[in-house]
Symmetry: C2
Subunit: 580 residues, 2 copies
């Protein structure tokens, strides 16, 4: 995994590619690599859909190896949604495959001369790029089926749907899962729009004939990996809760805590919560005769297995087991308590290539603006279908919550840096509010998941309803996360890592065993800091200031029920988060 | 003119008002007053459509007096379009009337408890506010007719159309003209949306029984005014060009200079220019049997008389003589060379309450995004009608060019601080580019009209195609403009003022004769600086930095034909403009 595939989409006769060594970027992977390339090669004030922006797809440092949980992939660019740097992270199969094919990154650059769509095929023999306008406005499910018909069943597919082709700021990039379905998405920040602006519809990878990447020190690697897996399995979150109910185990937990944003962040608890909880979802899945939950990862090598499959009432595959954030965004946040409707919305988002968080948040803003009634699932489905159809309404919604707020004259728009907040109200879980405000990414829970400490006590308990210690907590989590996002490891390893020092050490041993390095915990922290520093510098050069590291005013003015509490972390504390 | 009318729209039973003395604001008028109130009373980070924003309508210091040209009015608020401070300036009758009624400002504040529309009636006996939901989504022409039926023919009307009610960021506020038609608009920055957010549909003023405001020193005032008027009449621009052809005299001039933004700023000259020029327009108006041009001011006391009336092919009133900026925005910028179509678009904008500059710029961006073909006048009319009808497409377009650019995935969006550029390409007239970039208002030609010096040589000639001296020029003009915008004087007095020192002195004598003060030219400069300082501080507190004082990157990268030149004023020079 020592080369970069650069595809210049601006060449006269259509995209041209070259392969080059990692060079200055050697030793970097995942987010560390995407953010380094964006920082070095993309002018911060360029237009996100223009010639100068680049789209970087990078497996993690351990992707393609036998390390457990190492199949995450990073997508980086200047974001059309936030105007700042972006790393969107996804599961699925392509990361491991690209790792085995030896690619540390794919970089799409330049601007197409003509309006055509292209597909890229990568296998052990090299790279082929061909025009294919038959896929114009095709949904991700059909794209994957078409690629399967052309290239066989053993491929992985990275693709965009109609949203990406329309260059909408809510567009995602789909990564196919173990069943070769486009269900894992680099969702946030409009990365799909940037891929659309490059005219690349699909990247197909086939690692047949490639081996698992070999560790520098096989015995040490193997032993460390065993210890690491044992640590994941013994922790109650990664070993029990998530396998049993998936991420949607959180619905009841966050609702109970009074921090479940309901009807566009108007209230902290949702009446219909029980009907859409992870427990109900697992029961439904089991009753419908599928394999249920508890058996399923999103990529080979996963041992947490929080994923699953959602079947419709007739027992027919509809979508993956819907994730907590999606159940919330299309569910409680829109006042919708119908699990089947939510699953349909998830399927539509995956097919059109849309960020489910941004879409749910946007529909809730539109509902507040009078476009539909809260709780009207049929209206929500109709609205998402408009995005796929490319109607004016669809284009508004596909552009995200900030734009919808402007267009519909809505005052309460829960965004930071133009990106919609996920499924935790920052008034009820103040730690996550600090992350929303200060991460380089725009409101993003994964950038520093303070919910773990605030609610579950992971890594030590902090009071979610007090500002105390939240800035320090978020800071440490943001640093650690930036490092983890570089390894290709799934972020869910953080629960055992924070609670079990021996599992954290095991991870470091896995890295060292694989790379032959001798990193310490401090080195990992330094790596995280250096990534954040790069990202912060890019954003500053793009025009961001500390005024952008703020929640919208109303979170400081309107108390959230039932706790009747406002967000209380001071601006001064927010400004200290990145002081390291 | 020593009192402020404050209307609190958030009272339980509907809007309540009180009248209070000017207090700390004594001595301020027009833009000086609106910007002072916004600076002092509006939290810079508040939501523009929320409870904390205020809408201030303020006649100038001389409005209501017998001073020539003193009928301009300022509207201030935090702008929904730019997110910064806003002063939008309009002609029409209400300024003189409010001055005579003794009101230095009307302030709308608070947030309505219920969704109702109100009208405000102000005469010598006081203020009456009444609910009137029959005007819901009514166009400005019907609103004025209705108010005329209710309050008689001698009123002035300040109103919003469907765009303001929809709280669209392109919404204007209409001020009725001498014929009691809603043709003069505080157009820019979405001030109509703020009025809409306050639930006030119309403010009707009737100055019957009020006298012209008396000067402190009648003889000195009268003599100075006479000298001032003589100065205006002898200058070729204010005395000949503008009365003969209106502002549209500029079409040929700017086109000839190669700085006429054509088809969304793709080129600097327009093939169809001759068909929509001021000369052709005047000929058309005269041929259709109206009173023609050259006879008409937008308010009593105007001696330049650049306005006129546009009749349709059947000799029926259609709209006012269309202004240069509008002819450009809906004409050349959209590739449209049909004067009747452009006049129809102007009429629709006035009726719906839309900024013609923002609308034309937005339709051109939409055309570049594939929504319609450049040059398709019928499509443009249909698109503007969608704004009035409140369709999703209409809501996109009514939200302005920046939003349309996002929604339609367009890269070339000619905005600064979110506000669309007017009718001068900053590559072909670099001085105006400095003003677009650095004014507190977002791209705005009126904030520092460097076109005068660059093209016409007003106040000394500068080369439009060279960066040299442009920053200094724009700086001085911005300072002078802020002062003039405080007097209630029409900005077109600037041509003689800059060329004829005796006319500038006459204006100062008019002010001193009226107020009894003894201002010098330096005091006027200090007033301008202090206003700009207030405005800059507000914007900084709202989050603006020097990165916001920039043109979009493409003006520095894409040369404009036929001169094949890019914008060349350096960032360092831009950053010096407000260094005083």
């Amino acid at each position: 995994m020592d080369k970069i595939l650069r595809i210049n989409v601006g060449a006269d006769g259509g995209p041209e590619f070259k392969t080059e060594p990692l060079g200055d970027y050697a030793g970097l992977g995942g987010r560390g690599l995407t953010s380094a390339i964006v920082s070095k090669e993309v002018p911060p004030t360029c237009h996100p859909l223009g010639e100068d922006n680049k789209l970087i797809i990078a497996p993690g440092l351990l992707s393609g190896s036998a390390a457990a949980m190492s199949g995450r992939i990073s997508v980086g660019c200047k974001s059309p949604l936030t105007g700042g740097i972006k790393e969107a992270n996804a599961g699925g199969q392509p990361s491991q495959m690209l790792g085995r094919l030896g690619y540390a990154a794919i970089v799409l650059e330049g601007k197409p001369k003509a309006k055509s769509l292209y597909k890229v095929f990568i296998n052990k023999d090299g790279v082929k790029i061909s025009e294919d306008n038959s896929m114009c406005m095709m949904g991700n499910y059909d794209v994957v089926d078409k690629m399967k018909a052309e290239y066989g069943e053993k491929i992985g597919v990275i693709s965009i749907g109609p949203a990406g082709e329309q260059k909408l700021a809510g567009a995602s990039i789909a990564f196919s899962d173990m069943e070769l379905r486009p269900t894992r998405h680099a969702g946030r920040g409009g990365v799909g729009a940037v891929m659309g602006s490059k005219g690349i519809k699909a990247i197909v990878v086939d690692d047949a004939g490639c081996s698992v990447r070999s560790p520098a020190n096989p015995d040490a690697f193997k032993a460390a990996n065993k210890e690491f897996v044992a640590g994941l399995r013994k922790h109650p979150v990664s070993g029990e809760g998530m396998p049993a109910y998936g991420t949607n185990v959180l619905t009841n937990v966050i609702n109970e805590a009074g921090a479940y944003p309901t009807k566009n962040f108007q209230w902290g608890q949702f009446d219909g919560c029980e009907k859409i909880s992870g427990e109900t979802q697992a029961e439904t899945e089991n009753a419908r005769g599928g394999e249920g939950s508890a058996t399923h990862g999103c990529h080979r090598g996963c041992v947490i297995r929080c994923s699953g499959t959602f079947y419709d009432k007739d027992g027919k595959y509809l979508t993956k087991q819907v994730e907590y954030e999606t159940v919330w965004a299309h569910g409680g946040n829109c006042g919708i308590d119908d699990l089947d409707a939510i699953a349909q919305l998830d399927r539509l988002d995956d097919d059109f290539g849309l960020d489910t968080i941004e879409m749910g948040a946007t529909i809730a803003v539109a509902m507040e603006g009078g476009v539909a009634e809260f709780g009207d699932a049929e209206a929500a489905i109709k609205l998402v279908k408009e995005v796929g159809a490319g109607t004016p309404m669809g284009k508004i919604l596909g552009s995200g919550a900030a734009v919808a707020g402007k267009v519909f004259g809505v005052e309460r728009v829960p965004v930071v840096k133009g990106q919609a907040m996920p499924a935790y109200d920052p008034r009820g879980i103040m730690g996550i509010g600090v992350t929303y405000a200060t991460t380089t990414m725009g409101a993003d829970h994964t950038a520093g998941y303070a919910v773990g400490s605030n609610i579950m006590g992971t890594g030590g308990k902090t009071d979610p309803l007090s500002p105390e210690g939240q800035a320090e907590l978020s800071k440490n989590l943001q640093i650690a996360t930036a490092a983890i996002d570089s390894t290709g490891m799934c972020l869910f390893i953080a629960f055992p890592l924070l609670d079990q020092p021996e599992t954290f050490q095991a991870l470091i041993d896995v890295i060292n065993g694989f790379t032959g390095a001798s990193l310490t915990a401090d080195d990992v922290t330094e790596l995280g800091k250096s990534i954040l520093k790069n990202e912060r510098e890019f954003n500053a050069a793009a025009g961001f200031t500390k005024k952008d590291d703020r929640l919208p005013d109303y979170f400081k003015k309107e108390p959230l029920g039932p706790h009747n509490i406002t967000f209380q972390v001071s601006d001064e504390e927010l400004d200290q988060v990145h002081n390291y």
